[in-house]
Amino acid sequence: MRMKLANRALAGMLLAAGGVIAAAPGALADDTVSLTLRYCWGGDAEMAAMESVISAWNDANPSIQVTGIGGSINAEEIVASVAGGTAPDMVIMCDNGAVAGFAHDNVIMPLNDTLAAIGADMSNIIPSSLDWVSYQGKLYGLPFGQDTYALYYNADEFAAAGLDPSQPPKTWEELWTYAEKLTKWNADGSLAQVGFIPTDPSNNIEQTSALFNCDFYDAATNKIIVNSQACVDWFKWYKTWFDAYNKDGALVNVIASRTGGDAGLLITGQQAMGIFGEWNTGKAYIPTNGPDLNYDTAPIPAIDPAKYGAGFMNGNAFLVTSSTRNPEAAAKFGMYLMTDNPSRTMALQNASVPQLKSLLTDPALTSIPHFQAFLDIANHPQAWTTPMISVYGELRDGLTNALDAVINGGADPQATLDELASGIQARLDANGP
């Protein structure tokens, strides 16, 4: 009897939990297509901007209504929801790093046919911006804002060192010479100011490799080529900086002291030149954190003069999940994002580079101080992105570890990169591109 009572009580709790706690999803209207967009921005200002973009679409398109769900996205969340049949119709990832893996695993759908079916005009999208949403020759997404990187430098320190602030370094040799002049040592052997730090705020693997003609992957042969001579020389370049400036950990100590965001060392005067993303020019970044900093931006030096002015690009990828029942409606919304107003709204909100040619000359963006360099880099024909292969995440992690082993562990660059290349090649062969 008591057991029965206990069972009933338990069942009652379950039902109560199910009844009270379960939240019913929103009701569907009659012939209106309802789409769900999961987007990666979680900050309240970013979400407000994205919701305004969605709201403008909904007002103009009563037959296709979009509901936005903001907040950071874990790739596993999308994979699981597609497997479970509850995936959103569309996703905006803040990092295109997942695109190749999603495409490889059929989590997202190729858009070429759907875009052709709705008569999408792609001519206003910067061609190289489409590279980082493509996989195996097919377009798996649309770019919606992108990041590029440039050399930031302290113009006052340039002048104080006898360098012309209007003539930033264009080659790696010039960068070395400039850095020597801009570096200041304390009497105790520590660094008062570092001319250039190659590994802060990130290790700049993606930002500098191609400027040394080091490619990670050869699509024609499906081979990992990170152990080429160009890549070995690129790793040696990193080591040269640490050999020269990290005596008794002097350089690492400066890096460890950084506060105040990516450009913290530049703002405090501990660093004269560095590689940073375009968002640091946005009003919430250097203008707020270091309003007195007199700085400028320029392309990152290159080993090949023809590549000077080009840069690494990646960004926010608009994707359509493979489980959507309304791919054409989703594609129409995607193409709406490829128009000036939505792209401008998010570019200004995120201080990011737009993917549209028409916005590269938009006064709202060109008037941002020091932003022009990024607009030019995005428009450079030799701009590059990460290899769009399913194992790129492992390759990037492997490169990070290999670089650390070379810089801090004294490992041989050639042997380290040989080992990495063979390991990732095996994974690539097993997994497929």
Binding site: R2, M3, A6, L10, M13, L14, A17, G18, I21, A22, A23, P25, R38, W41, G42, G43, D44, A45, E46, M47, I69, G70, G71, S72, N74, E76, E77, V79, A80, S81, A83, G84, G85, T86, P88, C94, S257, T259, G260, G261, D262, G264, T268, G277, W279, N280, A284, Y285, T288, N289, N350, A351, S352
Partner: protein, 300 residues
């Protein structure tokens, strides 16, 4: 007499030396504890300090410990931005029942492993323990698909109902709690159990009337750890709760993080407020924990 006096004198000297040494030891222990406490408290102090700074002070170099002015306004601003009341309610809706469910289910399973003898008991127990080694990523998709088929996505059920089954699904803690309670139950005198059986008590009655009251310290520990686990859980709400209206505290604090920038003062203010209930709960449970040991008397 003189010999006695001499011995008493020696004893007095020895006692005095012992007392002095004991005092010295106590002082050293006290200093060591103060140093260690300071080390452990430093992040919390820094969190609080940053929560009352301006944005510029939060990233100043060299760092500022005591801000001037002190910006108390970060607290109300942060709570409004993260919609604190709703996020708190959303968290409690599943965290509190999860504690009750975990205590019930883990106790029943642990009782079966510790008190009731049945063939293959130890093998099954080891099987349960092996689930501790399963990474969450391995079970994510099968669980998600199951919950999706049941129509539980965008509900609190995936965060709550596994607790009714030893919480083995989707949580590291379930098998651990079963293990912890089983070990505790094994220490309960067998004579008590046998006496109850002779008096005609059912196994459930023995569990709820004898074993559980004698296991308060372990139960409080399990309850506390479950609550902390649910309160801090970011991953499962991220996966199963897409509706912004359902999001708990662990996800609400995201509003301070934009693509490349974190609002340090307000995010730290939110962190202080979100941490506070756990700190209070810990101190409360710590007292109860000691009370439980004293009252239950594990000597048997």
């Amino acid at each position: 007499m003189s010999t006695v006096a001499l011995n008493e004198g020696r004893m007095a000297v020895r006692t005095s030396t012992k007392t002095r040494r004991a005092k010295q030891t106590s002082t050293l222990v006290f200093i060591a504890l103060v140093v260690l406490s300071t080390v452990y408290m430093a992040p919390l102090l820094w969190m609080f300090s940053t929560s009352v700074k301006t944005a510029a002070q939060a990233i100043a170099s060299p760092p500022i410990l005591v801000p001037d002015p002190i910006v108390w306004g970060n607290y109300p601003d942060a709570l409004i931005r993260m919609n604190f009341p709703r996020a708190l309610m959303n968290t409690l809706i599943y965290a509190v029942p999860a504690v009750i469910f975990t205590l019930l289910s883990s106790s029943v399973v642990a009782y079966g492993f510790a008190i009731i003898k049945w063939p293959g008991r130890n093998v099954v127990f080891i099987l349960v323990l092996t689930t501790l080694m399963l990474p969450g990523q391995v079970t994510l998709i099968p669980l998600y698909v199951t919950y999706a088929k049941l129509g539980w996505i965008n509900t609190y059920l995936p965060l709550l109902l596994p607790s009714l089954f030893g919480a083995a699904a989707g949580s590291w803690s379930g098998p651990f709690f079963i293990f912890l309670l089983r070990q505790f139950f094994l220490g309960i005198p067998k004579d008590l159990i046998d006496a109850a059986r002779i008096d005609g008590a059912s196994e459930l009655r023995i569990l709820f009337r004898i074993v559980m009251p004698l296991s308060m310290p372990a139960l409080i520990t399990v309850g506390l750890l479950t609550f902390i686990d649910k309160w801090n859980d970011f991953y499962n709400p991220l996966i199963y709760l897409q509706d912004p209206k359902l999001q708990p505290l662990s996800r609400a604090v995201q509003v301070f993080q934009s693509s490349h920038k974190l609002d340090w003062p307000q995010s730290m203010a939110a962190a202080v407020v979100v941490s506070l209930p756990l700190v209070i709960l810990y101190f409360f449970a710590q007292r109860k924990f000691i009370e439980g040991i004293t009252l239950t008397g594990q000597k048997g």
